[in-house]
């Protein structure tokens, strides 16, 4: 054991296997650290795996999450510890010792093949907590179908044998691979790590204590989490959306917002849970899609509609346009209708009259709260919690806890959505690796393979391995017949039937057979390549064969399991599938394991808080950074900020940041410089700057910031630029910074929020203005407690813990008056005095105000040169002209083009803490590239036959990754292998067959078609 003053440990412990923990683990492992991922349940995936679709893209949650989980599960440098809990953490940053208890699974993961026979035969049915009890599982169970690891576990609280040994033991009797081990015992393990990341997630608020909701008493009142399962195709009603009482499809559904949030009276949670508005809208939209008929009525009852994220407002607009009803009203009680288990809601309409409406189902948009066990763990580890019980963080250190070396990410520090959690996960990975940088790659493992045999000139010698999968395949498909048949196929020189092809002994045997028989192509007919292809490909490599000389025939998941009653047909189909695989593998070629060498330098564009934070985060790891700023000074947008919503003064912080940047030996600062042209791709960019220099860099971070909109004309002008006491938000901040004494003298101040935002010309919500304006109002109150302050707003969007500012503002007597677009405030000048008139919706009459100062909360506006940068880096933008990330949910700082990342306001408006987190996240993502000497690139890439290419450019237009371009000289299409993802859009788009995909070429597909139809 090394002592703390020595080199730090090169490993890290991530606690929590939800999306945040998984992302943090992947980022750490990819940038050269060994990761112990501790998960308390039997599989990773967390809350996200329970969701049906995700907003605002309506992506299928399982679809987008699964690949990450599989990657995590297979990662050589991630030690996945499920059913495990951290008991204690000793030591300090750089050298922690964690004590982890691993609870027994009672199923040997090395032997379990996830065939499911055990669960089928297990007599004990129990409510399935994955479906929140809406469905049933067995005492031996798989957490969910796509679980990683895909291994069964026994629930010790439910298992008949474990309660009374000798009583049942069915699973042990039927398990074909002898994986059941009733004698499994808990183990305590000591892990030495350099830092710790807490990604403990959240618990959904339990609404049972809110009796008015009827939850727990009225069967058709469900939580949103339960409703996700009702919507999910893999949920208890298979996506048919049935309500609990009678399993009928509801025709009228209501959502009640803020259940367990923004409620200090009953729920004791003053904060806003941040995600519920969007998920409720999403559920309403998705429910309407699920509904068999067109007439599903959906109503959302809310206080303020908080759609403050990227593309959220558009989603809200679309939902309204599609007929989702929105009622600004808090429901008193959910009442039984007295028939059919329907429910009655009484609410006040826009007209002030009381309506009564009947619903078939009421969904409670429950908030997020700190998990009880997580809070206990935090206390055990000496991690401070904030008044809301979340892990305490600060504006400038958003992913750090009070305990050095212990970082935090995700909803455990404040309620937040998936992209924000993922962003923080990456940021925490960066934070955790900062101190550990000297020990990078010191504890990681790398696999060595024998040299590969060149089989190019050999005639095909194909080996076919037909799996019985215990009885999973063999009970339906005549595997012996399939094996015999395989031997007759052209090119096949060896065929064998195995009980479990994936078992370790068979794998070893397969490698031997490949060598002994001189096989140069292999087909395995078993389960799905999606889970098992990597394993068999690994075997090929171990046997000295290129791993791409391999095909699978899926005769289990897509044959024996789905044609259980038709053994003859299933056997014929298995033969066909084997023949197709053989036909295709004959055409397969050895492919290169592509890599791209990495220039270990980053280019950071923009030297605001985001850019500087990103640059420092990378430079602190010893990696050189070229920091390019268009202006002549550092600081960017933040120079105009007075304080963060948490109350920290920005200017002081900024000064410190600038000093660090200026004095950093690894930062090459280029002020007054811009980017002219970018060439190359991930690992090997070459960027021409306006100073004439050319920078080679392996990755780039774009952090060019944004500006604030100045309403110089139009209906939102409001005397701006015409009256000296009309400001936009940051102009008032400037007066705060200057400590303008005149401010104290103001008798009345009016704020107009959403001034020119959330309208057709500028449809997005700028996310920060409500909080910022309220904080300014509070500051004015600090300066002059007698000042009258009015805020004219549309929805107050103080999401998360920012809600406390809103609360405080009301306590201080600040008056909030809501307006809508039909009645926007009127402002005019009467002999130098500002006059404001707004219609108060509660009084239902106009209110006249005579402020001394008028503050307009205007939009955060993308920079005009964003377009230029977008063209130079060939990266996409949204219709609002913010940069478009590769994936709204799971890749929030990545561009679709590899090696380019974004941070800060150019991505979307956000407060300081989020900007810093995103900058660190971008640095972490860039580090996963810059930490490597070379990075792997897709092997199955497109390739152009220049003899056939005519340079029409269709391929370049349909490529989502800019991975194909017309060569300047030949004017013919050329693939940039490092950027190609192998999707084949170019192949299908090419009329002259000039582009093909390696090993998934037209001829291979045609061979498979031909083989499929050989026997008709």
């Amino acid at each position: 054991m090394s002592n703390p003053s020595d080199r730090p440990k090169g490993s890290v412990m991530v606690v929590g296997g939800g999306i945040a923990g998984v992302q943090a683990a992947l980022d750490m492992a990819d940038s050269g650290f060994y990761v112990h991922l501790i998960e308390k349940s039997s599989a990773i995936g967390g809350r996200m795996s329970q969701l049906d679709k995700t907003f605002p893209t309506n992506d299928c949650s399982a679809c987008i999450l699964s690949p990450k989980l599989v990657e995590c599960g297979r990662h050589l440098n991630i030690n996945l510890m499920t059913l495990s809990e951290v008991l204690a953490l000793e030591g300090e940053e750089g050298a922690f010792t964690a004590t982890v208890r691993q609870n027994p699974r009672y199923v040997d993961p090395a032997k379990c093949i996830a065939c499911g026979t055990c669960a089928e035969k297990c007599p004990k049915k129990v409510p399935n907590e994955f479906d929140l009890g809406l469905g049933k599982r067995k005492a031996i169970y798989l957490k969910y179908p796509q679980a990683v690891p895909l291994k069964y576990a026994i629930d010790p609280d439910q298992c008949i044998w474990l309660k009374k040994p000798g009583r049942c033991g069915m699973c042990q009797k039927v398990c074909p691979s002898g994986a059941i081990n009733f004698d499994d015992q808990p183990r305590e393990i000591q892990i030495e790590v350099g830092s710790v990341i807490l990604a403990l997630g959240f618990s959904p608020f339990d609404p049972s204590i809110l009796d008015f909701t009827g939850y727990g008493r009225l069967p058709n009142v469900v939580t949103a989490m339960e409703f996700e399962r009702l919507l999910s195709p893999s949920g208890p009603c298979l996506g048919h959306m049935e309500r609990p009482s009678d399993h009928k499809e509801p025709r009228r559904i209501a959502w009640l917002q803020c259940v367990g949030s923004r409620d200090i009276n009953r729920a004791c949670h003053g904060y806003c849970s941040s995600v519920c508005c969007m998920y409720a809208i999403k559920q309403a939209v998705i429910a309407r899609e699920h509904a068999q008929g067109p007439d599903l009525a959906t109503s959302i009852f809310f206080m303020d509609m908080r759609t403050h994220g990227k593309e959220f407002e558009a989603y809200y607009d679309r939902a309204r346009a599609e007929g989702v009803n929105f009622h600004r009203c808090r429901i008193h009680s959910v009442l039984p209708a007295g028939h059919d288990d329907n429910l009655i809601l009484r609410y006040v309409g826009d007209d002030g009259l009381i309506n009564q409406e009947e619903f078939d189902l009421v969904v409670l948009s429950v908030g997020l709260e700190m998990d009880r066990q997580a809070a206990e763990l935090a206390r055990r580890l000496g991690v401070e919690l904030d008044p809301n019980n979340f892990v305490a963080t600060s504006a400038f250190r958003p992913v750090s806890t009070n305990r050095p070396g212990v970082c935090v990410c995700g909803a455990v520090s404040e309620p937040k959505d998936i992209p924000q959690s993922v962003m923080e996960a990456s940021a925490s990975a960066l934070e955790a690796s900062r101190v550990l940088a000297p020990s990078r790659w010191s504890e990681t493992r790398k696999k060595e393979y024998p040299d590969e045999r060149n089989v190019w000139a050999e005639p095909p010698r194909i080996g076919v391995f037909v799996c019985s999968c215990g009885i999973n395949i063999a009970s339906v498909v005549d595997v012996a017949a399939v094996t015999d048949y395989a031997r007759t196929l052209p090119g096949v020189v060896f065929a064998q039937n195995n009980l479990f092809t994936c078992s370790q002994d068979t794998i070893n045997q397969m490698a031997e057979i490949i060598k002994r028989e001189g096989l140069n192509r292999v087909v395995v007919a078993s389960c799905t390549p999606r889970t098992h292809e990597p394993l068999f490909q690994e075997t090929l490599r171990d046997a000295g064969l290129n791993k791409f000389l391999f095909e699978m025939a899926n005769i289990r998941d897509q044959d024996s399991w789905v044609h259980q009653k038709f053994p003859d047909e299933a056997t014929q189909k298995a033969k066909d599938l084997v023949r197709m695989a053989v036909a295709k593998v004959r055409q397969d070629e050895a492919l290169a394991y592509n890599t791209v060498s990495v220039v270990k330098r980053a280019l950071v564009l923009g030297a605001g808080v985001a850019g500087m934070t990103a640059a420092l985060s990378i430079a602190d790891q010893g990696i050189p950074v070229v920091l390019v700023e268009r202006k002549d000074r550092l600081g960017g947008h933040a120079r105009k900020f007075y304080r963060t919503w948490q109350g920290d003064l920005v200017q002081e912080y900024l000064k410190g940041l600038c000093r660090q940047v200026e004095g950093h030996s690894h930062i090459d600062l280029r002020l007054g410089t811009s980017v002219e042209r970018v060439e190359g791709s991930v690992g090997q960019f070459k960027t021409l700057l306006s100073d004439g220099s050319k920078v080679s860099h392996g990755a780039a971070i774009i952090a060019i910031g944004a500006g604030s909109h100045k309403p110089r004309e139009g209906r939102w002008n409001y005397l701006y630029g015409k009256h000296p006491e009309v400001h936009v938000l940051l102009e008032l901040d400037k007066r705060f910074i200057k400590e303008d004494p005149a401010l104290k003298e103001k008798g009345q101040t009016v704020f107009i929020l959403c001034a020119g935002s959330r309208v057709s010309e500028k449809p997005y919500c700028s996310r920060v203005c409500c909080t910022h304006a309220i904080d300014q109002a509070l500051h004015l109150k600090e300066l002059n407690p007698d000042m009258e302050i009015f805020m004219l707003y549309r929805d107050i969007r103080t999401y998360g813990e920012k809600e406390r500012l809103y609360q405080r503002a009301r306590e201080k007597g600040i008056v909030f008056i809501r307006y809508d677009l039909d009645n926007i405030p009127k402002v005019w000048d009467e002999q130098g005095k500002i006059q404001v008139e707004a219609k108060d919706p509660i009084l239902d009459r106009p209110v006249r105000l005579h402020p001394d100062m008028l503050v307009l909360a205007t939009a955060v506006r993308p920079k005009v040169d964003a377009d230029v940068v977008s063209r130079a880096f060939k990266c996409s933008m949204t219709s609002d002209r913010f940069f478009l990330e590769a994936h709204m949910k799971l890749r929030p700082v990545d561009f679709a083009t590899d090696g380019i990342f974004m941070a800060g306001l150019c991505h979307y408006p956000k407060p300081m803490d989020e900007t810093i987190a995103q900058a660190k996240a971008a640095a972490a993502r860039a580090s996963t590239i810059l930490a490597q000497d070379a990075i792997p690139a897709e092997s199955i890439t497109a390739v152009v036959d220049h003899g056939k290419c005519v340079g029409c450019g269709v391929c370049t237009m349909v490529c989502a990754y800019n991975a194909i371009h017309l060569d300047e000289d030949s004017r013919l299409a050329t693939v940039d292998t490092a950027m190609c993802k192998g999707c084949g859009a170019c192949v299908a788009g090419c009329r002259s067959d000039a582009v093909t995909l390696k090993n998934i070429g037209n001829e291979q597909i045609m061979a498979a078609i031909e083989a499929a139809m050989e026997i008709c």
Binding site: E311, K948, V950, V954, M957, D969, N1002
Partner: protein, 352 residues
């Protein structure tokens, strides 16, 4: 007799001569009189003198855009791969363009087959071109030995007959339904402007076929392509078909059998049309070129109709609008998708 055609012919000769004499172009692409009364011959004039032979009449059915990429290439000084391009501008070509031809030029420019800068386009509004198959039918199989054309009439005669008809009666089908007779890109306009046409039911024939049942449609399709000899005149007359190796010629992979087989011939026609999807301007060159009189234009016409209806796309009208198969809209129709087509989602921006 002075006709629009004779006036235009004069103007073309004058302009072409100017262009060649002044050295603004290295070659001028037009038509000369053919050796048969019903055909004109595409022609490249390389000297001012040769321009005297140029003609413009209702028989100019070959789409000149088809020749441009090759002609331009042939005028470039030979260059090995990697060798830097020669200094200064490359030689230019003058060309006549009607509405559909100019739209094909737009597409060729969009698809990087040529540079706009290297073209000098003399724009001519099309009055519609004559279908010589219709003339043959009119002549009842008798050999046509001479043809006269005025602005409104066509007179044909042979060994023992002489007939006159309205031009409208013998125009090509594509010209009858054309709504864009005027060139969309041009450097100089020649001759009078033809007003934008409003065509009543431009897709009447397509709709008629659509109304038939599947069996009848198949019978119609088979009948239509029955005489195809796979000579590929339709393909080669088409300015969109410029692939060095057409899919029909490829043996690896062998998408289509090479001989005359019912399925292979059908596959050829389906894919040829499909490859023109969203690009075809309905110039009719394919039909005019076919030695067997096959109406393969109907297949591309169907695609044209669908592109218009599904994607509101008419190709070649604008250099800056992407061709329909190289772009998408999140809300593109998906009623044909049988599971889960009801779906709403945010696509962010799609521009690059």
């Amino acid at each position: 007799m002075e006709t629009l055609f004779s006036q235009t012919t004069e103007a073309i000769r004058r302009e072409a001569k100017d262009l060649l004499e002044s050295g603004k172009v290295a070659a001028f692409l037009g038509f000369v009189k053919g050796s048969l009364p019903t055909v004109t011959r595409p022609f490249v004039a390389r000297t001012p003198e040769e321009t005297d032979k140029l003609v413009w009449n209702g028989l100019c059915v070959m789409n000149l855009a088809n020749y441009l990429p090759g002609l331009l290439k042939s005028l470039e000084p030979p260059r090995r791969p990697g060798e830097p391009p020669p200094e200064g501008p490359l030689p230019r070509v003058g060309v006549i363009a009607t509405g559909c031809w100019s739209r094909n030029m737009v597409i060729q420019i969009q698809e990087n087959q040529m540079d706009r800068e290297r073209l000098v386009i003399l724009g001519v509004d099309s009055h519609g071109m004559i279908d010589r198959r219709k003339l043959e039918v009119l002549a009842g199989g008798r050999e046509i030995q001479s043809l006269e054309e005025t602005d409104e009439r066509v007179i044909i005669s042979g060994r023992d007959f002489k007939m006159e008809t309205a031009r409208q009666e013998v125009l090509r089908d594509n010209c009858l339904t054309c709504v864009h007779p005027s060139p969309v890109i041009l450097d100089k306009k020649i001759g009078p402007t033809v007003p934008e046409r409003r065509v009543h039911e431009p897709f009447a024939r397509i709709e008629e076929i659509e109304r038939m049942d599947a069996g009848s449609r198949w019978a119609w399709f088979q009948e239509e392509i029955a005489t195809c000899i796979r000579c590929y005149a339709c393909r080669n007359a088409c300015p969109l078909c410029y692939c060095p190796t057409c899919f029909v010629d490829d043996s690896h992979p062998q998408w289509v059998g090479k001989s005359i087989d019912k399925t292979d011939t059908a596959t050829f026609h389906i894919l040829r049309a499909y490859h023109c999807a969203g690009r075809c301007t309905d110039c009719g060159a394919c039909e005019s070129a076919c030695p067997m009189g096959i109406k393969m234009r109907l297949f591309t016409r169907k695609l044209q109709k669908d592109c218009l209806e599904l994607f509101a796309s008419e190709p070649g009208l604008d250099l800056n609008s992407p061709l329909p198969l190289t772009t998408y809209q999140p809300e593109d129709p998906d009623t044909f998708i049988i599971a889960g087509s009801k779906k709403q989602g945010t696509q962010g921006g799609s521009e690059k």
